[in-house]
């Protein structure tokens, strides 16, 4: 496995009125070329911040990457110069966001916005950039790309705009595409189309995808590997089968149980939707122990005392939980 992107002990902190808050704590993972890694978790667990940290876009001036490294093909992006990061963004690592309705600039035709990316990074002239824009619109399956290239964002639907965002992101053939909940704001049918498109583009272009979502259905659809995050920490990591079929961490299991299931024809079979009691704790109130312990039904006494180490369960499958720690293994 060639490691394209390697995140090592990443730590991100924010200055708030309540003091410094650690939103990501010693996060490590790797991304291989051409693979899809899903990062799952509830709102506020640090998924999006992880993406922004990779892009070097942690909100200034309150946010800081205080430790760790993000290595792209060996080069540490955390220590790269702002100019170097500008050359990386959109060219080697691209990102698409949650809100396709507002992520395009309303005063420029979509074609120009795609062309902007290639003109910035590849130095193409106007005509070449424009034909590249048409080509990209065709690649994301927008009908009549020659005509629509001159249209403005307000003339596109939400799903079409997300396609345009994907076209912009992939115009420079980046090695990595970070998709931050790209389908959350879209209709379910359109979501499926976007998934399909991302899968297709990954196959044809070999782009590795970091897919951030809170939707377990999307994970099943997209992922090769999965990272489950809780309160800024990685609680479990594994292949998509490991996570979906053999979830080890109580939080992962809870997350999977929270999916509604459809049972047709028998109203009585409609089961109560499971939920994880409580909410993600405010990050400045995290104690010394496992962040999930207050909500965990199986919490042991030591869970509140010290953070659990990561335990290897199988090849590529690991979880951070005291229940799984070797000494407690029998208890679990």
């Amino acid at each position: 496995m060639t490691r394209l992107l390697e995140v090592q002990d990443l730590q991100v902190e924010f200055d708030t009125w309540d003091g410094r808050v650690r939103v990501i704590e010693s996060l490590s993972f790797a991304l291989a070329a051409g693979e899809t890694l899903c990062i799952v978790g509830e709102s506020g667990c640090g998924k999006s911040m992880t993406a922004l940290a990779i892009m070097g876009l942690v909100p200034q001036p309150t946010g800081h990457i205080t430790a760790g490294s993000v290595r792209l093909a060996g080069e540490d992006l955390v220590r790269a110069s702002p100019a170097r990061m500008q050359a990386v963004r959109g060219n080697e690592i691209s990102m698409i966001f949650q809100e396709p309705m507002t992520s395009l600039n309303p005063v420029y035709p979509v074609g120009e916005q795609i062309a902007e990316a290639v003109r910035l990074h590849k130095g193409l002239d106007r005509d070449a950039a424009r034909s590249r824009a048409v080509e990209m619109l065709r690649a994301v399956h927008i009908p009549e790309p020659e005509r629509r290239v001159d249209e403005y964002p307000h003339q596109f639907s939400g799903g079409m705009r997300q396609r345009v965002m994907i076209a912009i992101a992939l115009a420079c053939e980046p090695k990595i595409l970070i998709a931050d909940e790209p389908t959350t704001a879209l209709d379910v049918t359109v979501q499926a189309q976007i998934f399909e498109l991302l899968v297709e583009l990954r196959e044809t272009r070999g782009t590795a995808i970091v897919f951030i979502t809170h939707d377990v259905g999307a994970v099943a659809e997209m992922a090769d590997r999965v990272i489950v995050m809780y309160a800024g920490r990685k609680v479990e990591e594994g292949g998509v089968e490991d996570i979906l079929e053999r979830p080890a961490h109580p939080y992962t299991r809870g997350l999977l149980a929270c999916r509604p299931t459809l049972v047709l024809g028998d109203p009585g079979a409609r089961s109560e939707l499971a939920e994880i009691p409580g909410v993600v704790p405010p990050l400045h109130q995290l104690g010394a122990g496992c962040a999930f312990a207050p909500r965990c039904a199986q919490a042991l006494q030591r869970c509140g005392v010290a953070a659990p180490p990561e335990t290897r369960l199988a090849d590529g499958h690991a979880a951070a939980c005291w229940l799984l720690a070797p000494s407690e293994g029998a208890a679990a």
């Binding site: 691209s94 395009l104 600039n105 005063v107 910035l120 249209e151």
Partner: protein, 284 residues
């Protein structure tokens, strides 16, 4: 072509076109512009020449709009004097806009220390009484069209800076700015190519109205005698004839009317632009 790609600008024009008051304003400005452009070529009387008896009332076949207290042709003054007046207004508004956009965009985009520092500069200029400050500037140097223009521009830019700053504060946190950053756009590019075009509508409206204000300001300064006495302008005509207001009302009224119409036209167009750019008023 009609189908594909109607830019926000084209949409604004479609709204503007349906606004009667704005079109009247545009027509007024068109007539004034035409007169100022070709008038001096057709009516070749020097406005400083004494062409008849002093204070000839309007209606005289030789001097249609009468003469002032020195016997100078009022019509010639109107035709020649419009260019400097309008030019001062436009140039001063441009100075205002350029300074305002520069300070406002840096302040709004970078925020923090930059904002605080530039905010002090804005406040410094804001607390100075504008007319007095302009008068001081003009009397310090020679009263000429250039110094008058600069003086007006320098005292009037703070509103534009605050407007631009507010727009930048609002727009810089929108999603498409984040997208621009994510494709690797530099700060300069984000300021100039991403945020500024989206901030332009209110700035254009404000710049239009600033032109009217600058013309009035110039007239006010001229009335007080602070203008270039060697260049005929509407303001100079009013200023020099003000002592004879009761004997020769026409010497002051006609240039005053010209200034009034010009500023009215500008205001109507400015309001029309405001409606056209304001999406809440835009009917589909």
């Amino acid at each position: 072509m009609a189908e594909a790609g109607r830019s926000p600008w084209q949409e604004a024009w479609a709204v503007f076109r349906r606004n009667r008051a704005a079109l009247i304003g545009l027509a007024i400005l068109g007539v004034i512009g035409l007169v100022l452009a070709v008038g001096p070529l057709l009516y070749r009387v020097d406005p400083f020449d004494i062409v008849g008896a002093p204070m000839t009332p309007p209606g005289d076949p030789d001097v249609l709009l009468g003469t002032d207290y020195l016997g100078r042709d009022i019509l010639a003054g109107l035709v020649r004097g419009g260019r400097p007046t309008v030019l001062v207004g436009i140039c001063a508004a441009m100075i205002t806009t350029v300074i305002g956009i520069t300070i406002g965009s840096l302040s709004g985009y970078y925020g923090r220390g930059t904002d605080r520092m530039l905010g002090r500069v804005v406040e410094f200029f804001q607390v100075l009484p504008a007319l007095l400050f302009a008068m001081v500037l003009i009397t310090l140097f020679e009263p000429s069209l250039l110094t008058v223009t600069l003086a007006i521009g320098v005292v009037a830019w703070t509103g534009m800076a605050r407007l631009t700053r507010a727009e930048f504060l609002r727009i810089r946190q929108l999603d498409f700015v984040r997208s621009a950053r994510a494709i690797g756009a530099s700060n300069a590019r984000i300021i100039l190519a991403t945020i500024l075009p989206n901030a332009l509508p209110p700035i254009i409206v404000s710049a239009t109205l600033a032109t009217g204000t600058a013309i009035l300001f110039e007239a006010g300064l001229s009335f007080l005698g602070l203008t270039d006495p060697n260049v005929m302008s509407w303001g100079l005509m009013i200023g020099s004839s003000r002592n004879y207001l009761r004997e020769a009302w026409w010497a002051v009224t006609f240039p005053g009317l010209c200034i009034f119409l010009t500023v009215l036209g500008i205001s109507l167009v400015g309001d029309g632009l405001n409606d056209a750019f304001n999406p809440k008023l835009r009917q589909r």
